[in-house]
Symmetry: C2
Subunit: 305 residues, 2 copies
């Protein structure tokens, strides 16, 4: 079933211990949509400037991604540049140029509004709420956020996630949002804010899924080399929601089992791991669904006892 | 089958965000033996001073631990005091008084030498080698070490672990010992140094097991409260080797399956998690085997998909 993805389509400059790229396709919506496109029909809502390159557009359309909701306006695309620490568990932002993204007002094409799945990348909480309101009757709606909104726009964010089915954030954000350092306690507090399903991403250490009466934890995939972690969290989100959409899962009531959600977390982890194998979106130029399913089985092998 | 544990029996002073204890029973051999005692007949080789309290001895004998190899000499027990960081992922050593431990020369009683399992806590590599030589024909011999020996006594340590079946260390130590930051590469290098089985402990993030042709990763148990992580790594070691000894497993050739080793890692994780629930060895005053097996099943539940 079809999935609407809202967020940034951008250009990034990235430096890791493995090298440096000054300008490459990036943005949360790009990563989420590329990742989800392996599982389900994916539709993007975003804004780009007139520097958005035809070859970058082609990468998205080659993955069958619907760009009817990709607004094009005069100016330049959102640009972010950052540099990773040697262990790549942290990064420093060098440049943020909002450009056309500064006035982004997401408008969902009519054909998008009946989609059953909605994944909102990290943008202003007020815009996320507005997007959610434009959807007719999604089975599953949720998204991501970041420290800036948690810290400086807390009330706005709380109003927004109160209407979400699921929230995907990292461990630092979960601690900041809840005020609890223990992740089990943090999860319980966050689920009281609205989302009945919470995924906490832990980078190289894996991910956790919490619901009111159960939880699931998976370690991270052990890569031979991490070239560039940019977008890994968004690819996780794309694999997670993509798998649920592929199977038409609903989280209403008890229509979804812990097993289904756990497998969605594994597919999220698989997609995040592939993302790190090359710079930026490069890995998605060659990645095949069969490789994804093989890595899913590898997860089963190295975690079962 | 019986297990010989070599290391320190000591007193610790510990401060965590949950409180402070100035003097309590501790030491690697204490934690390893208490943990392993739930699985198999356990015999300690260590040295204590004349301040070793009868009630602390009673805790060990109440767990059926053989103290024939516990040497008693004039002077005071080894004493260590440390303070944990607020997130308890790191600690600062405040005091180290070697006392009677300074002249420790482990001597295995005749009745210990035929034991089939040997677990050496973190002591001088030369002493570990000497202990290994005193054992007649163990099925499984291995142990732990720490940054100090890796950094300042590398040659001695390499000579020692060359004769081990297994090595249990934490992720920082694995990186230091191998010179590789990637843990998969680190594991491959370390296995070339001798041990055919390597366990890398990652604190709250769980543990990994590596053999030449397979690996296994488990996330950490999610505790409601971590009171005191002191001894958790040693309790992991005790659960790991204890489970293998309980079932008479051998690592020679292919006599042991990945499944058996994985379950040993889970039992190690279970014992490490219990250790953190109270200060020092307190949890072992009440812990029952049924609780251990129940937590093992909980691991299966929150990791399976």
């Amino acid at each position: 079933m079809s999935l609407v993805v809202v967020g940034s389509v951008a250009y990034d400059g990235v430096e890791t211990p493995h090298g440096r790229v000054d300008k490459m396709l990036g943005g949360a919506a790009t990563y989420i949509a590329l990742s989800a496109s392996y599982f389900t029909q994916t539709r993007i809502v975003a804004v780009v400037g007139d520097d958005f390159a035809p070859e970058d557009e082609a990468l998205l359309t080659d993955h069958g991604i619907d760009l009817e909701g990709l607004e094009r306006v005069p100016g330049k695309c959102f640009y972010w540049a950052g540099k990773y620490t040697p262990d790549m568990n942290d990064r420093e932002t060098l440049t943020t140029e909002l450009n056309v993204f500064a006035d982004f007002q997401p408008k969902l094409p009519e054909s998008y509004r009946l989609a059953r799945y909605l994944m909102m990348g990290n943008i202003q909480p007020a815009l996320q709420r507005d997007v959610r309101a434009q959807m007719k009757n999604p089975r599953l709606a949720g998204g991501d956020t970041m420290n800036y909104w948690i810290h400086d726009h807390r009330d706005e964010l709380l109003k927004t996630i109160a209407g979400w089915d699921f929230l995907l954030i990292n461990d630092h954000e979960a601690r900041m949002l809840s005020g609890e350092s223990n992740l089990r306690k943090a999860a319980n507090k966050i689920m009281e804010m609205g989302p009945h399903t919470l995924v906490i991403k832990r980078g190289e250490f894996g991910a956790m899924l919490f619901r009111k009466d159960s939880y699931f934890i998976v370690p991270g995939y052990l890569l031979d080399d991490v070239f560039d972690p940019t977008g890994a969290g968004d690819c996780f989100a794309g694999g997670f929601i993509g798998y649920l959409a592929e199977h038409g899962f609903s989280l209403d009531g008890d229509h979804i089992s812990r097993g289904m959600l756990s497998r969605a977390v594994i597919y999220g982890s698989v997609m995040g791991s592939f993302c790190c194998e090359r710079f930026g979106v490069e890995r998605f130029r060659t990645l095949e669904r069969s490789e994804i399913d093989a890595r899913f089985e590898e997860f089963r092998k190295f975690t079962s006892f």
